[in-house]
Amino acid sequence: MIELLWSIFDITLVLLLLALAWTTCSTQDVKRAVTLFIAMGLLLAIVWARLKAPDLALAEAVIGAGISGALLLSAIKDYPSNMVSHRSTLIEGIINSLTLVLTILMSWAVWHGLNMSDGVRLSEPVISQLPVSGVSNPVTAVLLNYRAYDTLLELAVVLTAVLTVLTLNEKRVDYEFSSPLLQGMTRWLVPLLVVTSGYLLWVGAHAPGGAFQAGAMLAAAMILLQLAYPSRRQEFNNSLLKILLVIGIFTFLLVGLWMMSLNDDFLAFTPAWAGTLILIIETAATVSIATALTLAYLGGRPRGWEDTNRTSRSIAENGGAG
């Protein structure tokens, strides 16, 4: 009986997800598409939770639905309200056929993965190496130890994306109005978000959580502050922002090189220190991810971004001349 109820729930979930995905893609109204996309993200988080992947569920809820939603909503603010998307038939055809090919490939991969009986299963080596990985959460062990190189490159991707945003635009114009009620909620919600972010970072060692979720949570707190106090947050400490933006990847590289000098291999952690090193890397990465996502939400360079550059360059030139 209870299995039947669960399967009804699961089937409803899948059908809703497919319907939402379809309407998100097929609607002509950009605002509607964004709203539907956010709803789809939340539903997808429930799907991941049902598949017993709480790490992914958390990441999807915070990044997929939360931060991406905020990014998309602030992006469509630049368009007129009756904006519809116009694509030529040729572009549409190319996109459709590429999507079709991708769908077939993915379906084949999933089918193959489900039916593969005697292939290589990676979960056993992951579990067997867990005691020397420094953490007890297998997902964190994979992300920050076995495949630390991938995570380093992910951070580089995030940094590159934000650098592109910063190169292209000035900071978006703020919302003019704020509500005292929103400000009141922000005042007690932001401390709560900061604590939750720290908790997610710390708990990542032995339970679902980690740098990406914690960083996105911190960015959410920053976005909330931006929305509630539009006029008061005009001036950023730009040199501090620049340091925070790169500190994650810098720490990661530094630890990797240090471990290379000890163990002859880039990012090959000494088992006794692995837990501490992972925590250090994750803390720095959290700060960088939060900064990157906040800057992406702002949509470009905050005021005075180049000025600090110019000052520091002129100082360097003067110093060189002296």
Binding site: F177, S179, L181, L182, M185, L189
Partner: protein, 95 residues
């Protein structure tokens, strides 16, 4: 007995969710829709949370559920207020 209470609470919560959703679909304009949605969903969530608390023996999880309920209630009240305020302002601009 306890289970019956919990099931009763959860199902009456679902009833409120259902009526809120019907309100969202059937009511004529944005303000009445917000009214139906925010109120009915908060009561619905409270009842579902109550049912789950009755079923869940661990106190720490009960506290978490209460915190979730409070956060959702604050968020839905504030966001309804923001949506309504925005709509009011747009109407005023049209006049």
């Amino acid at each position: 007995m306890i289970d019956t209470l919990a099931i009763l609470a959860i199902f009456s919560g679902l009833f409120f969710f259902l009526s809120g959703s019907i309100g969202l679909l059937r009511l004529p304009d944005l303000f009445t829709r917000l009214h139906a949605l925010a109120k009915a969903d908060n009561v619905g969530l409270a009842l579902v949370a109550l049912g789950v608390i009755i079923l869940e023996p661990a106190v720490i999880n009960d506290i978490k559920i209460v915190i979730i309920w409070l956060l959702v209630m604050a968020a839905s009240a504030i966001s309804s207020h923001l949506v309504a305020r925005h709509a009011l302002r747009e109407n005023r601009n049209d006049d």
